[in-house]
């Protein structure tokens, strides 16, 4: 294997793992590095409590980003997820308040999420309408629909046992459990199951996928359905965290989620990326937001700084990919 000897200095890992590892290494380094830098400036940042809160408060973004990554890897995009999460949270909360069994109020959003996303997936896959158009439309449908139905009345007096996010498993708070499990399962599935690989194939080269016996349309439909499931999970964490549900669609949440996915190294051109990356990215972004407060960045400048850091991460990732490709050429 003279070629690989050059391409991968005696790496025991398979190519896919090599890429994945280095991709996440970038984010891991960033996460740890940032923590250290900020920790030096303000040690309180490193308090377990704070680090835990960063995870807790943003787990729902990471969970949603898992589904979003799948969608993007399959060569599509979804703008409606933020609105959907708002809708699902409201549905879940209203059910609970209306006295439905807690399990029902937890399950319905999952089912509904799958249903809505599957519907969009079907339009994208079988009617061949670009995902950005479908989901853009769905965004305003959900947004407008939710307000016309609820009038934006806040949902309060939620039953105590509704608050899934307050539970914890072996001392680990539920949001984190859900985030880790969702990411791990999705990652393993996408890595090791033929259907999971089919997502990469579809995103990478749909025509070729078809000729390899992969059905791109079914794959896209499946991906959207799964995305809906993760959106449902996210909405649960989102809804059960606080005592109040706003019953409006969280502004700009979809962009935050997409950002997490792409910063995680998911190529918008489809075919590349890992959900572990997107979860790390979600954590990194949350960490940045919190860090900026800790190091006394002027609140006026926080958004600018966050934007710049995100841009830096993205560019770094792209450069890394390009060097890899270049390395491949010099065989």
């Amino acid at each position: 294997m003279s070629a690989t000897a050059v391409a991968s200095p005696a790496s025991p890992l398979s190519g896919a793992w090599r890429r994945l590892a280095s991709q996440e290494a970038l984010l891991a380094v960033a996460i740890v590095g940032l923590a250290i830098v900020v920790g030096l400036i303000n040690p309180r940042f490193l308090a377990t409590r704070n680090l835990a809160d960063i995870l807790l408060g943003n787990a729902y973004i990471a969970v949603a980003a898992v589904g979003m990554s799948m969608v993007i890897i399959s060569g599509n995009i979804d703008i409606s997820v933020g609105a959907l999460i708002g809708v699902l949270a409201t549905v879940s909360g209203s059910l609970a308040v209306a006295g439905a069994p807690i399990l029902v109020s937890w399950l319905v959003p999952l089912v509904l999420g799958v249903a809505v996303m599957a519907a969009q997936g079907a339009i994208v896959a079988y009617l061949r309408i670009p995902a950005i158009v479908v989901t853009l439309g769905m965004l305003s449908i959900l947004k407008g629909g939710l307000i016309s139905v609820t009038g934006g009345k806040w949902i309060t007096d939620l039953p105590q046992n509704f608050h899934l996010a307050d539970l914890s498993l072996f001392g680990v708070p539920m949001p984190v459990v859900i985030m880790v499990l969702a990411t791990a399962l999705a990652a393993l599935w996408m890595r090791h199951s033929p259907r999971g690989r089919a997502i990469y194939a579809t995103g990478g080269n749909p025509e070729a996928a078809r000729l390899c016996g992969v059905n791109p349309q079914r794959t896209v439909l499946m991906v959207f359905a799964l995305h809906g499931l993760f959106a449902g999970l996210a909405s649960l964490v989102y809804a059960t965290q606080l005592r109040v549900i706003q019953s409006t669609t969280p502004q700009g949440l979809e962009l935050t989620i997409i950002t997490a996915a792409v910063v995680g190294g998911v190529s918008i051109l489809g075919g590349v990326g890992t959900v572990v990356g997107s979860t790390l990215a979600a954590v990194l972004i949350a960490e940045i937001t919190s860090a900026l407060v800790f190091i006394n960045v002027s609140p006026y400048w926080t958004d600018a700084v966050r934007g710049a850091l995100i841009l830096a991460t993205v560019i770094a990732d792209i450069l890394r990919r390009q060097r890899r490709a270049a390395r491949g050429w010099k065989r």
Binding site: L26, G57, K153, Q241, F294, A316
Partner: protein
């Protein structure tokens, strides 16, 4: 190489932001406009301070149809629809409309607090033809042209909650003067955390006029009357529940025991801050004072995590606005008047020229909170 790129950029950013941070720490809150602040006297006799009788400075519609006593249709365009606060004001309007019998009000507006969206809504209703426009401005200046257009079309214009430039509307129903809020908030915070306590603020955005003004007034009043209280930091959290919660949590973690109190400047930020304090197990150690609607605050008042919530009753606000509009149409409220009858609220006073004061802000406590449902 990539790591270095990343870290170097990061470093650069931090450097930049420190610079900026230093700059802004020094800068004084001036309410995002450059209007002066007017802190009230420290003692309780705030109301006693009489507003210098200012001449009427509102605008007037050009030959409006005389609908005195006749059925009128009004449109209410709040900053945004779908939040508890404006649901409450519009409820008040419906109540008033029911009492009066000869008023029809519809509430319609943008789903996000965007100035140009709000302008489009008002413009549409001008075209559609209504007798009067009730508004809560997302921006006092930006909304002026379209309101003037309404006046020019003989449509009556009355503002509530968030004012526009005076000449763009006839009257503005002022729930509580900015300096009144500033005093109320600072005093109750001082009462809870003492004269030397330090506090932080969670607000929506620095551009939201009301919040910006309130913060400015709070600062001015604090400098005057609570000079030893320490102002730690102010953070933005949009009108977003989870974001507000995260920001409040971050503040708690950042300052630890230093932090004695949290201000919530919006009906979203306050319950979220209370939740953050609860989750952090700091109830009683960190006081939460803020503007909020009762329902969202009930749990926290019940658990004594929050002692008191400052807020006028938004239902009354909407109610008053409707009565004022009716009075204007009926010619009962003319420029120069000093008071107006507002149904169950009785006589409301006209202050600084063309504003009608709803009264001192209302304080909800464990005791009375259950009397309200909005």
């Amino acid at each position: 190489m990539r790591a270095s790129l990343l870290t170097s950029t990061a470093a650069a950013m931090f450097a930049l932001s420190f610079a900026a941070g230093g700059a802004s720490a020094a800068s004084k809150w001036d309410g995002a406009d450059d209007l002066p602040t007017s802190p009230l006297a420290c003692d309780a006799s705030a109301a006693a301070a009489p507003a210098a009788a200012k001449p009427y400075d509102g605008g007037q519609p050009t030959n409006p149809p005389d609908k005195a006593g006749k059925e009128i249709t009004l449109v209410d365009v709040p900053k945004l629809i779908g939040i508890g606060y404006f649901n409450a004001t519009s409820k008040g309007m419906q109540d008033a409309a029911k009492e009066l019998g000869n008023v029809k009000v519809t509430t319609d507006g943008p789903t996000e607090a965007k100035i140009d969206e709000q302008i489009k809504f008002i413009d549409n209703y001008i075209t559609r033809g209504v007798d009067g426009v009730l508004f809560a401005a997302n921006d006092p200046v930006a909304i002026a042209p379209v309101l003037k257009k309404a006046l020019s079309k003989g449509i009556h214009v009355v503002g509530y909650d968030a004012n526009s430039t005076p000449d763009a509307r006839e009257w503005f129903v002022n729930q509580a003067e900015f300096n009144g809020i500033g005093k109320g908030m600072m005093d109750s915070m001082a009462k809870e955390i003492g004269e030397d306590g330090s506090f932080a603020i969670v607000t929506s955005t620095f551009t939201t006029p009301n919040q910006a003004r309130w913060i400015a007034e709070m600062q001015a009043y604090a400098e005057k009357c609570h000079p030893k209280m320490k102002w730690l930091e102010t953070v933005e959290a949009q009108e977003d529940n989870n974001l507000s919660f995260n920001q409040a949590t971050t503040l708690i973690n950042k300052y630890g025991d230093k932090l004695k109190g949290l201000f919530g400047m919006t009906s979203v930020a306050t319950p979220a801050s209370a939740e953050a304090v609860t989750k952090a197990g700091q109830c009683g150690k960190i006081a939460v004072v803020g503007l909020a609607t009762p329902n969202a605050m009930k749990p926290y008042l019940k658990t004594d995590c929050v002692k008191s919530v400052v807020l006028w009753n938004p239902i009354d606000l909407g109610y008053a606005a409707t009565y004022v509009m009716r009075a204007v149409v009926d010619g009962k409220l003319k420029p120069g008047a000093t008071s107006v009858e507002a149904g169950k609220l009785g006589k409301l006073n006209v202050v600084n020229g063309s504003e009608i004061l709803l009264g001192p802000p209302f304080i909800y406590t464990k005791a009375n909170i259950d009397k309200f449902d909005f």
